[in-house]
Every structure is written in structure tokens, then in C-alpha cells.
Symmetry: C2
Subunit: 88 residues, 2 copies
């Protein structure tokens, strides 16, 4: 069993209005030491299978469902978890 931690972010060239609103609001509220804001999506998936197959599967899931490959990029880490830990 693997736990995949997937980060989906806008590509650097894509304007992110949500991040801009947060940064501007923080500045207006006095938090003007915040110099950059990135807003992303985070997914955790628990999957069974062998590692190579799971990696390929996550690539496919990200490309077709979790990320918009036109405007977003993704990266993920995979860590083995014991079935006992999952049942907790």
C-alpha cells in the first residue's frame, strides 16, 4: 500500500488571482512582510499495487483528472504504508 502526496500548482507563467487577492489583503491588514503567495491543491491517495504501476497510475490520474495540464503542473511523492497503519 502506498500513500501518494500530490501537489498541483499553477505553472509560473499563469496568473493566479486567488494568490494575488490573498497577498493584497494581507498587505492591507498590515502583513506587508509577506513577499509571495502561492495557492495550490493538495491530494492524498491511498493505493494498493506495486510501486512502478502505482507511479504510472498516478501520472495518468493527474493528467486526466486532478490537474489541468494546460495551466497546472503537478508533482508527487510516494511512501509505503503498512496495511495496519491504514486500518487505524
Amino acid at each position: 500500500m502506498f500513500k501518494a502526496k500530490i501537489f498541483v500548482n499553477y505553472k509560473p507563467s499563469v496568473l493566479d488571482p486567488k494568490a494575488e487577492v490573498i497577498q493584497n489583503t494581507l498587505a492591507r491588514l498590515g502583513d506587508d512582510n509577506v513577499q509571495h503567495v502561492l495557492v495550490g491543491k493538495y491530494f492524498e491517495l491511498l493505493l494498493s499495487g506495486d510501486e512502478a504501476a502505482v507511479r504510472a497510475q498516478i501520472d495518468r490520474i493527474c493528467d486526466t483528472m486532478l490537474a489541468n495540464i494546460n495551466t497546472e503542473s503537478y508533482r508527487f511523492t510516494l511512501e509505503p504504508v503498512s496495511d495496519a497503519a491504514v486500518a487505524e
Copy 2:
């Protein structure tokens, strides 16, 4: 300068319809080895200041803006970054 990596997730007791839709859709498409899905928000902030002040500031920002403390919990890591790296 610090880079804060902030994760905002629903509390375990809160139903997450988005995660359920993703898991059900994956199962319908054949990815029935996905046993759990978590959908969260991810923020990166670049802040100047000393570490203790920055930690307190992020707690305040999360409590008042980035997380809904009724339904969501957050955690963050703080890592020092050089000003040169920021300018890149």
C-alpha cells in the same frame, strides 16, 4: 526570509464531498485500488522576519484567513531561504 508550506485540510469528522466524488469516479473508471482520497489546500508564503514572530504570524493568518477553523485544521513547516534564492 522564510518559506512557509501550509496544509489546510478538512477535519476527519467533516464530510468531504469533493474527495468522495473523486474516489467514486476513479472506481468507476477502473482505478478501484484507490482506497482513500483526501483533498486539501496548499499555500506557500514567503515572509521576512525572525522565526518566532513569523510562526505566530502564520498561526494568525491561518486562523483568520486561510483556514475555516470550524471545519478545517492546518499545519505548516517553515524553512529558511536565502534572499538570493528568492530573487531568482
